[in-house]
């Protein structure tokens, strides 16, 4: 049996000033090496869940374990286990890709020579070698996203959290990113991914969870869910389970 990359048990979380919990009795298990998709309408709790798993938000009830380590009981050293690619660009636009990777590599706990090797490899793979010394602020949106991805994986993480990593990029960049993520997964990295690009997600994720209002409404292999709900694709499944009404949160 595979080791669990993420294990969430009886999780409860409330935003400050709100009496009703945003997430309660939440349970989820993601096996190591999976390509896991977390989907739901706006305000369903995807980003909140990502932030809880990465320690950006703290919870009072339940537990979250990363590769068997309870995140509450560990100091920041547990953050070495994972990489995170937030929805917003998380880099210094004044710096070049190399300079960004040097800094974030050091903060990820890598040694100087490791950073050098990883930087060279990543910039080559993501097609940024020629602009390695150009400040990121001069890049197109797609190039910035690739730098953003490179920073998230510079430490060769065992788990990679991706919060809409391809938002606002062209088709070529999207394919390049997805291909690279699949490559990473082949090498053992667990992917935990959220996006509104459902067609893209369909090609990436093998297992998914649909959440709404802080609760899981479906959780299984994608193919099993499609068969169970008699849908051709993830978009149809999504609408069937979450409805067609606007979400204003």
């Amino acid at each position: 049996m595979k080791r669990l990359a993420v294990e969430i048990q009886d999780l409860g979380f409330s935003y400050p000033g709100h009496s009703t919990p945003f997430i309660s009795n939440f349970n989820l298990q993601i096996a190591e090496g999976e390509r896991f998709g977390l989907f739901g309408p706006n305000g369903a709790g995807k980003t909140t869940l990502m932030n809880l798993m990465t320690g950006l938000l703290s919870f009072s009830v339940g537990s979250i374990k990363l590769l068997g380590n309870e995140i509450k009981k560990h100091d920041k050293s547990i953050n070495k286990l994972f990489g995170f690619i937030p929805q917003d660009l998380s880099l210094y636009q004044e710096l070049s890709p190399v300079e960004n990777l040097e800094f974030f590599g050091a903060w990820s706990g890598l040694h100087k020579h490791e950073i050098k090797t990883r930087t060279k490899d990543l910039l080559g793979i993501l097609g940024l070698a020629e602009v390695r010394d150009t400040p990121v602020q001069k890049f197109s949106g797609g190039m910035k996203r690739r730098v953003n991805l490179a920073i998230g994986v510079v430490c060769n993480p065992q788990i990679l959290f991706l919060d809409e990593p391809t938002v606002g990029v062209d088709v070529q960049t999207r394919f390049a990113i997805i291909d690279y993520l699949k490559e990473l997964n082949k090498n053992g990295t667990t992917l935990i991914y959220t996006s509104h690009q459902l067609s893209e997600a369909e090609g990436l994720c093998k297992k998914i969870a649909l959440i709404d209002e802080g609760k899981i409404i479906a959780h299984d292999d994608l193919d099993t869910l499609l068969a169970q709900y008699r849908q051709d694709g993830l978009e149809g499944l999504f609408l069937k389970l979450t409805g067609k009404n606007y979400r204003n949160s």
């Binding site: 070495k80 660009l89 710096l95 903060w107």
Partner: protein, 426 residues
């Protein structure tokens, strides 16, 4: 250590690419120190070297008023411009505007006669007091009408007082001379010899001015010695615009979110910023001092004399820089937006500079401000610098200013840590 080093390199790279921040941290204080020193120096020269235009309307025809004008002229403060004795008040005021004179003086019609009469009364009283018989003079005869001084309202109170003082001393000299002449004539029945008059009237006791310094040097403080330290402190604290803004930018940008998910404490980032910007404040001080020493003499300003205790100067600069950086980080941690950091940061520094004595000397402040002044870190920075630059003190002499500065700095650091914890940034 490698993480800290990488963070310092990152901060330096971002800093040197921030052209606006650099110009605010270096260009603006250099301009300020140049402008303020030049202005203060020219004010000093206005009083001591340049002459102030003074229109003189002498309505009197006697010789005492001419003597008075001569004495005013020999004061060396004024460039006298005689205007017609028949000019009305309105015409005098118009003349002040057209000739761009700051001052006009009107000597009343019977100035000489009345001064002479006043001298006779004083002489008569003095002779009577000595048991001699003086001339009988009506006591009403000695009321001399006032000399009227017109001034442009732009003249500051302190400046006007010094002009008034100079004119009073000229009047007193003329009156004393007249009393002496009358007294001599009453006793000897012949005029006072010119030689004796000069001996009596010109043999004034001199005032020897000695600046009180700790090292016993007699360097006379000038506008440069006053302004360079003051505006260096102002420059150091103005890093709040760049540093406070950079912290807010980092907080608001996605990069901060990523930093929080990495296995490194945010304290490393704050330590890096402290070290990087402390180095910036040291460079600021070095640049401004260098300009004071080497550039000022080329533009006609007095050169800056560095204190004898250079180690003390470096130490005081480090403490001032550390306080400035701590304040900027505190602003950055608490500000929600870059506009808040820039606005509050800049305004608060100007207020702290004003109450700290950088703009108005602390001795000239009202009593109620003296306590508030002690709360401003800029005040203690200035006290420490003045101890070295103006009083010729050594490091041990300025410790009394460094200790409160250190206490304020540590307090600011504690507030910052508290803010980071409350805002869950660490």
């Amino acid at each position: 250590m490698f993480k800290l080093w990488a963070t310092i390199i990152k901060d330096i790279r971002i800093l040197i690419r921030d052209k606006v921040g650099l110009s605010l941290m270096f260009g603006m204080p250099i301009l300020l120190v140049l402008i303020v020193t030049s202005i203060q120096n020219s004010t000093f020269q206005l009083i001591n070297k340049n002459k102030i235009p003074l229109l003189v309307c002498n309505r009197d025809t006697g010789k005492i008023s001419f003597e008075f004008i001569q004495v005013v002229d020999t004061l060396g403060m004024f460039k006298l411009v005689q205007i017609s004795k028949d000019q009305s008040e309105k015409l005098i005021i118009d003349s002040m505007h057209t000739r761009d004179a700051l001052l006009a003086m009107v000597i009343p019609v019977d100035f000489s006669v009345k001064t002479e009469a006043k001298a006779k009364i004083v002489t008569s009283k003095a002779l009577n007091a000595f048991g001699l018989e003086g001339d009988t003079v009506s006591s009403n005869a000695g009321n001399v009408g006032p000399v009227t001084l017109y001034y442009q309202p732009i003249l500051q109170e302190s400046f006007r007082r010094s002009i008034q003082g100079a004119l009073y001393s000229a009047l007193q000299l003329v009156e004393s001379k007249q009393i002496l002449r009358t007294l001599y004539f009453s006793i000897n029945e012949k005029p006072l010899p010119v030689k004796l008059e000069n001996e009596l009237m010109n043999n004034k006791i001199a005032i020897n001015e000695v600046p009180v310094t700790r090292d016993g040097s007699r360097n006379i403080p000038n506008a440069t010695q006053h302004n360079v330290p003051a505006w260096t402190i102002f420059a150091m604290f103005f890093v709040v615009i760049s540093l406070g803004g950079s912290i807010v930018r980092e907080k608001l940008s996605g990069s901060f979110t990523r930093l929080k998910t990495l296995p490194t404490n945010y304290f490393v980032a704050l330590l890096s910023k402290q070290l990087t910007y402390l180095a910036v404040t040291m460079v600021q001080a070095a640049v401004i001092f260098t300009i004071g020493i080497w550039v000022f003499p080329f533009i006609g300003l007095p050169a800056l004399n560095l204190p004898a205790d250079i180690v003390g100067l470096v130490f005081v600069s480090l403490i001032c820089g550390w306080c400035a950086v701590s304040y900027a980080i505190c602003i950055g941690v608490f500000a929600q937006t870059q506009e808040q950091a820039n606005g509050f940061g800049a305004v608060s520094i100007v207020i702290l500079a004003a109450i700290g004595g950088l703009m108005v000397p602390s001795f000239a402040m009202p009593e109620s401000f003296r306590m508030i002044m002690k709360l401003s870190p800029l005040h203690w920075c200035l006290e420490a610098y003045y101890g070295l630059f103006l009083e010729g003190g050594k490091l041990k002499d300025v410790f009394i200013s460094i200790i409160p500065l250190l206490i304020i700095t540590i307090f600011i650091q504690l507030i910052t840590v508290l803010g980071l914890k409350v805002k869950k940034l660490i």
